[in-house]
Amino acid sequence: MIYLDNAATTKVSEEVFAAMKPYFCEQYANPSAIYTFAGKSMKAVDEARKDVAGLIGAQPNEIYFTAGGSESDNWAVKAAAEAYRAKGRHIITSAIEHHAVLHTCQYLEKQGYEVTYVGVDEYGVIKLDELAAAVREDTVLITVMAANNEIGTIQPLKEIGEIAKKNGILFHTDAVQAYGHIPLDVDALGIDMLSGSGHKLYGPKGIGFLYIRKGVRIGAYVHGGAQERSRRAGTHNTPAIVGMGSAARLAAADLEENMKKQAALRDYLIRRVLDEIPYSRLNGHPADRLPGNASFCFRFIEGESLLILLDQKGICASSGSACTSGSLEPSHVLLAIGLPHETAHGSLRLTLSGETTKEELDVTVEELKKIVGRLRSMSPLYEDFCKSQEG
């Protein structure tokens, strides 16, 4: 099997798994309990909190553990809207957010909030002038993702943070894809809230966090306990929290080296695909993109067919095509960067891990060439295109 869907989830690293293991059957205490046995569990949670905070230059008491990225996004956006309701009911976001932010904004619109969806350029970079122009007296939140999950484009967070700060508006970023993959510093970037997830960086699933800058007064997300400074109740998921901390520590140790290594392989893959498969294009920014993300569109074919045939060759990949999402519309991200529908339907996302090898990418490109050729041979769009070229 060749696994190239690391933006969907990653394998838990052996080291992370080893760190988690004692917290299931041995050190199983509820960390909030009073006895010595529980104290060790609380110490482990505190250690993890330090590691998670360290990766973004935050203080440990600004980290709130959640059940994952989607929860963190929901919390940040809903609670900020509620907390600052007296100031206004306007939120600014981008057109290419993950659905955890996009659908939360749509939910708030039904509650009487107004949302401005700022557009992006052809590479998926947010239009900063549009963003600045969208700011109003009653704007309470700017939420823009750190890096896009489909096309990998990294957003100009520092510039967005400056616009937010200048206007006294909270700035939240969904960093689920970026956390642990590129350097992020909440102070340097002017970030007030940041969502992260464990399973995108070789940690376990079902654990994430929301960074909330000290002084940002948003309310609790889950009521019913004193955990997480009474803002997110519920017994600590100790093994997962320990795993998240371990994953953050490992990511911090090799961040620069991993970025370089993965980006080199990514660029090799991109070059081969663009050189060897005609009528293909790279989606997202050529340079300012996640080190492990390669996103393509192949004209005249449809993404789901491509994925099924890749799967039959043991290659796991994903697509932003309509048929994989259960709707007839192709990905909102690909449409937002200006692709026509028929091109957007033929998308393929390959996302690398630290374990991905050049050999795996070579096999993938060879299979891809055959599959794209086969699907084009049965595509009426390709038939029409070829005839138009002849004529």
């Binding site: 449809e302 067919s305 095509s321 048929c323 007839l328 028929e342 595509s379 769009l381 038939e383």
Partner: protein, 144 residues
Amino acid sequence: MYSEKVMDHFNNPRNVGEIENPSGVGTVGNAKCGDIMRMYLDIDGDGIIRDVKFKTFGCGAAVATSSMATELVKGKSVWQALEVTNKAVMDALDGLPPVKVHCSLLAEEAIHAALWDYAEKNNITIEGLERPVDDIEEKIEEEY
């Protein structure tokens, strides 16, 4: 998510290709929604479909329903072909996931479009055959 029959027809689609100077050809669907089917028919003087070919841009279900539809009409008369409904195509494939039902409608519509073209070229009327809709997805939205 797909039945074995759907996967079989996707992996080994029957009757893929084109027919030169076909008796009738029909294209349905649109790129916006991600499915386009083109059906070619070769019909003899007795109204029997001697050969049928297809080309499809679309998902696994779109390819499989096109392939199955060609099998169901090959060797049949144009009147029998008219009776090949989207349900017949689905049943022959052991069902489709609910979100893919529109692919079977597209397959039915592709046969009808090719038959319509045949009827127009030969200046005949096939009883029960309606003019194909230009935008299949609009029709589907009305029906669901």
